[in-house]
Symmetry: C3
Subunit: 157 residues, 3 copies
């Protein structure tokens, strides 16, 4: 693998992830994962304790699709959007087929009336399939700094 | 165009943009645009509705210069500065002369007494002239997530 | 020096810096600096006035180690962590041995009870030794936008 090419591909995947969530194109979001993926939103305390579950847990792309379908049908939450800001991305090769990456992020939440607040901060821990273009997530762990967020979390982070 | 070179040039332009605003070197700001440029600050709702105007609108470098002159003379606002944080920048070639880019940003506002707040969040949608160094903006759309910001906006974002 | 390689090395150093602080691996932090280093946290007003001191000042790696030792022993402050978000990094070669870099950052503070706030915003001004891998800081100036922060600052920024 050419190192610069891998970095560019990882950057594009992470940017595409943020774009489809922040643009409310949530139906495109599961397609950024491989079929047999793992997506977990957890807190730092749970992650450091080695717990495998989280406030959101999905073990396949199908579960991600189900989540978006449910979110669209439910509509019991007050409409809001996120704006993600991701910091510099660290990329390491695992082997010829997988790269690992980690990055810091914050998510600003914008309510329908324009009210804006710092909603979440944390870290992305990723394993990425680099065997075909575009790259896809094998695993994305979203490790939140705060545990206070749980009940408000509807849209994936 | 060499892809990595274009990415570096785009990154430098976007970093220079933020630096001159955050350092209060606003007189350098218009020079980051081509003569026949377009600079618009708008809200997501207006942008998605296809409206061409914005809370700030300039259709030439001269209008950008006028804006800074007015801002320096007026001085009716409480002194403040911004600190911009820009996320990963996505770059696409349009053709041999133009690149397009988009990125997420937040702007923290720092008042003279040190009071600090999350002032703006949104997206930069750019078209960039890559025919000569340094690169310059042909168009920069600043699409704000919130519509509540209008009356407070003095310094460009 | 190959320009892309230098940029990657600088990015890795700055990401490693943030990681060891945000992960509370503070004992690893001094090792990111050369022996004869300079680390200063100051305010924009002091920096622009040309003042050399700061709210934190260290003139050697030993002083950085002392600071962490004191912080670990004292424990008189309420436990908290940071989450840094760093924007795009501008890198310039100074000569064959030194690179200079600057970047914007914010630090979110997360208290033990999960309370989260925008704690600091500012700029990193770096001089970096690029003669051996991994790169190390010769000088890191942390220029804070606000002067209100002083008494709360325990963990390095």
């Amino acid at each position: 693998m050419n190192e610069v090419a891998v970095r560019l591909g990882v950057n594009e995947l992470i940017a595409a992830y943020v774009d489809c969530i922040d643009d409310d194109r949530l139906e495109d979001w599961p397609d950024l994962f491989v079929e047999q993926c793992r997506y977990v939103v957890t807190s730092r305390a749970s992650h450091e304790a080695g717990l495998q579950h989280g406030v959101i847990y999905a073990a396949s792309r199908g579960m991600l699709i189900d989540r978006i379908t449910a979110l669209r049908q439910a509509n019991i939450f007050e409409p809001h959007r996120y704006r993600h800001i991701v910091g510099p991305i660290s990329v390491e090769h695992v082997d010829a087929t997988v790269a690992s990456a980690h990055s810091n992020f914050i998510a600003v939440r914008v309510m329908h009336d324009g009210e804006m607040s710092l909603f979440a901060a944390g870290r992305y821990l990723d394993r990425i399939d680099v065997t075909s273009q575009p790259y896809r997530f094998i695993e994305r762990l979203v490790v939140l700094d705060s545990q206070k967020i749980d009940t408000l979390l509807v849209i994936p982070l």
